[in-house]
């Protein structure tokens, strides 16, 4: 398996997910799950093939990270749809998966086959995969926050806010677990759990910001204020993920560059 086969696998998966999103709007739940699962099977076949042919988990580069993002977004979308029955969630997850897939299609990144020594750790795969889940949940709740802030009438606000809380709590559990996995890995590689490296600092900012949302909700602040915190948190998440590459304060300062 190699990147030259990616267009066939990714376009098939995207078509299946798009069909599943359409069936979700029409209320055909059975077909939604069948089509979504079929899309996931196609994408996971490509990832598995890459994993075998690279002889390592395809998790090292931005291109490979996008691959997992394109896989996990529809997966989380399907789980969220199955449990909470948001009809919009699959449209959202398919659109985001489409964006990540298109970036990979238009700008395929060619990578070395060998994983660099620092990344050869049992913490590597769980750290990244758990983070992907967290990012997907936060992506979903950000769209929901935008929807509630700018579109939705206030008639069903408490129920919708409760759904936001659940998405944030789930995402925050994943984010915390991913961050702690990273800390255990850093301890094994560098002899310190936390060094306030720029990447770690922005991870702490993101983490604090989402926890602030949870606590503000407990305090009973206005929903609009809490939703605004959610939007700002998502900006922090982007800065932590890829934005620090462009931040003057972080240039040449981070050990998290591979």
């Amino acid at each position: 398996m190699n990147w030259s086969l990616f267009p066939y696998f990714s376009l098939t998966a995207l078509l299946l997910w798009a069909a599943s999103a359409i069936t979700a709007w029409r209320g055909a739940r059975k077909w939604t799950f069948i089509l979504s699962t079929a899309g996931l099977a196609v994408m996971s076949a490509f990832i598995l093939g890459m994993w075998i042919s690279l002889e390592r988990p395809p998790l090292r580069t931005m291109g490979e990270t996008r691959l997992w993002y394109a896989f996990f977004l529809p997966l989380v979308g399907t789980v969220v749809y199955g449990r909470w029955k948001y009809r919009w969630i699959l449209t959202f997850s398919t659109m985001l998966a489409c964006v990540f897939t298109l970036v990979n299609l238009l700008k395929p990144e060619i990578h070395d086959k060998t994983l660099m020594p620092a990344l050869q750790s049992p913490w590597f795969a769980p750290h990244v995969i758990v983070y992907m889940f967290a990012y997907a949940m936060f992506g979903a709740v950000t769209v929901m926050a935008l929807f509630l802030l700018f579109k939705r009438k206030a008639d069903n606000m408490p129920a919708m806010m409760s759904q936001c809380d659940d998405l944030v709590r789930t995402g925050l559990s994943f984010l915390t677990i991913g961050m702690l996995f990273g800390a255990f890995w850093a301890n094994r590689a560098w002899g310190a759990y936390w060094t306030w490296d720029p990447k770690e600092t922005w991870a702490a900012i993101t983490w604090l910001s989402y926890f602030l949302y949870i606590h503000l909700r407990k305090q009973g602040v206005k929903p609009e204020a809490a939703l605004a915190v959610l939007l700002v948190s998502f900006v922090f998440l982007q800065l932590c993920w890829w934005g620090i590459n462009y931040l003057p304060s972080a240039q040449g300062m981070s050990a998290h560059t591979y």
Binding site: R83, W84, D112, K113, T114, L115, M116, P117, A118, Q120, S121, D166, R169, T170, L172, S173, F174, T176, I177, L180, A183, F184, N187, R188, A189, W190, G191, A192, Y193, W194, W196, P198, T201, W202, A204, I205, L208, S209, F211, L212, H215, L216, K218, Q219, L239, L247, P248, S249, A250, Q251, M253
Partner: protein
């Protein structure tokens, strides 16, 4: 009110920064850090339990104090993230280039830490099984933050660069000073195996060393992500340059306590996820 209190704490921090300069971790070298650690724990827990009905303790354990301290901690951590950190050995004001030694930053985190302690002390009475995830997470965070701070004063991180055949009892500390070790390290071999398909990419850096403490010696291999432990010291593969290998030596007695705190947080986070899922299923 919380905004004003946070602002006051930051202003007090800035005033101390102006008068006394940045916080020096050298001030709390052992045994001072141990005394500060136990004194803080005893004072904060006895006050939060003994004066639980007082207005100050009730406020410190309240959600308002939590959101206030988190907002200010977030704001100052943002400064840490946005201003390039270049600690200098002389007095600076306002000290934003060395936030980890900045009084405002430390005082705001002290407020956050005290808020956690008071919230835990309030919530844990009466103790029920349902409260365990909350307690695990918050106590874990409390332990990790406090031990990370107290331990910073006595962490020793040194590096040693050796060519094959060389040995030394001396390493170089982060500040450039000499660090005499309780053992010598001899580099008996150094390998860089390369990937099978692309010869340009190193697969691993492996140092073969002989460690001698004067009484006995032992041979071991140190590679990236595979450190070796010798008493209080952990030895890591750090880098290499033209036939020489650089090892990182770390001694940190408080690290185990920080690790325990992080494990407690991990358990708390896992419980948070399970509980959220169950709550939804119930609904």
């Amino acid at each position: 009110m919380e905004f004003a209190i946070g602002l006051l704490i930051v202003l007090v921090g800035l005033f101390i920064q102006l008068v006394a300069g940045p916080f020096r971790f050298g001030w709390i070298e052992p045994p001072v850090n141990g005394i500060v650690f136990w004194l803080y724990i005893i004072v904060v827990w006895s006050v939060s339990i003994g004066f639980k009905e007082s207005r100050a303790v009730r406020w410190l354990g309240s959600i308002r104090s939590a959101t206030g301290s988190m907002t200010w901690a977030l704001a100052l951590t943002l400064v840490l993230g946005l201003v390039r950190q270049q600690p200098v050995p002389f007095r600076t004001f306002p000290g934003f280039r060395d936030m980890l030694s900045n009084w405002s930053f430390l005082l705001v985190f002290l407020w956050l830490l005290t808020s956690i302690a008071c919230a835990v002390s309030r919530v844990c009475r009466p103790l029920t099984l349902k409260k365990v995830p909350f307690l695990l997470f918050h106590l874990g965070l409390f332990l990790a933050l406090l031990c990370g701070f107290a331990g910073k004063a006595e962490v020793r991180r040194c590096s040693m660069t050796l060519a094959v055949g060389e040995s030394s009892w001396h390493a170089v500390s982060q500040d450039g000073s000499d660090c005499l070790l309780p053992f010598s390290i001899e580099l008996t071999g150094f390998q860089i195996p390369y990937g099978e398909t692309d010869a340009q990419v190193p697969r691993q850096f492996i140092s073969s060393v002989r460690i001698d403490d004067g009484l006995s010696s032992k041979d071991c291999r140190i590679s990236v992500n595979h450190p070796v432990r010798l008493g209080r010291w952990h030895i890591y593969q750090y880098g290499c340059d033209a036939g020489s290998s650089t090892l990182l030596l770390v001694s940190d007695r408080w690290r185990a306590m920080v690790g325990l705190g992080l494990l407690m947080m991990l358990a708390g986070a896992a419980c948070l996820f399970v509980r959220t899922s169950r709550r939804k299923e119930h609904q």
